[in-house]
Symmetry: C2
Subunit: 153 residues, 2 copies
C-alpha cells in the first residue's frame, strides 16, 4: 500500500469528527498491520473499488460510538442500540467518502457499510493485504481507523 | 433489493463449496433481514460496487471454517488460526466473484475481504439496507450467506 494513500483518510477522519460531531481528535502513531485487533467495541467496515480495491474499518469504543450517535441524532443512547449502529455506519461512510474524493485518481466507489458489535471481535484483512492503522483519542475515548488499498495489477 | 439479485449468490455458494471444497451444501429457507445475527463464529465480509453497491457476508461455524481450510490447504488446523482466516476470506472472495460474473448488468468490482472472528459478534447492515439471508447446512456444520445490494438512484 502506497503511503500517500493514507493521508486522505487521516484528514477525512479529523474533518468528519470536527465538523459533523464537533469533536476534536488527537492522532497517535501510525502502524503497519497485516492483522488487526481492534480494542474497541463497535466497528464500521466499508469496501471501495475503482482503479484500486480497498477496505476501511472505523473502530470505536462504546462511549465514542454513543457520543457520536448523540451528536448526530440529538439523543444520548443508554446502550449500543440500532441508532448507534446506524451512526457508526454513517460515520464510516462519511470518512471513506471524503477520503475517496481526495483519491480521485483511483476513481473509487463505496460499497454498503456493515457494522460489527461485540466485545473481543477480531478483524483481519488476510495475509495478502498490508494495512495501516491510525489510532486517535478524544474527550469521549479512543478510536482507530484501519485502511487497506491494493492497486489493480 | 431485487429478488433476482439473490439467485447468483445461491448458485455461487453451492458451486464454490462443491468444486473447491468437495462439500455438498443443503440450503434452508431464505429470510429477509435488516439486522443480522450470525450464529456462526467466522464471518468473511466483502464489498462490491459498480452500477449498484453491495456487501456480502459469509458466516461459518468454526468447524466449517476449519474443514474448509483443510480442503483448501491440505492440513487440518486445530484452531481458528491465520490459515483459517485466509481461507474464509478467499472463500468469501470466490463466492462474491462468481456471483458478480452472473450479475454482469451491474458491472461490479470486488473490494478487499475482511474476516471477523470471535463468539457473539453481531453484524448489522444498518436500517437503510434490506438484506437477504441464505442458510445452509453440510456434513461439517452450518453456514449462512447474507447479501445486500442497493441500485444507484
Amino acid at each position: 500500500m502506497k503511503p500517500e494513500y493514507i493521508n486522505p483518510f487521516i484528514a477525512s477522519t479529523l474533518e468528519v469528527f470536527s465538523t459533523m460531531l464537533h469533536c476534536e481528535l488527537r492522532r497517535g502513531e501510525l502502524s503497519l498491520n497485516d492483522h488487526f485487533q481492534p480494542e474497541h467495541d463497535v466497528s464500521g467496515i466499508i469496501g471501495l473499488t475503482g482503479r484500486a480495491s480497498g477496505t476501511v474499518v472505523v473502530s470505536l469504543e462504546n462511549a465514542v460510538a454513543c457520543h457520536a450517535a448523540n451528536a448526530m441524532l440529538g439523543e444520548m443512547p443508554d446502550s449500543v442500540n440500532a441508532d448507534v449502529i446506524d451512526a457508526a455506519g454513517e460515520l464510516t461512510n462519511m470518512i471513506a467518502g471524503k477520503a475517496k474524493a481526495d483519491l480521485e485518481q483511483l476513481d473509487m466507489c463505496l460499497a454498503i457499510p456493515t457494522v460489527i458489535t461485540g466485545k473481543n471481535h477480531l478483524i483481519s484483512f488476510g495475509s495478502s493485504a498490508q494495512t495501516i492503522s491510525i489510532p486517535y483519542t478524544c474527550d469521549w475515548g479512543r478510536l482507530s481507523v484501519e485502511v487497506g488499498i491494493v492497486e489493480k495489477g
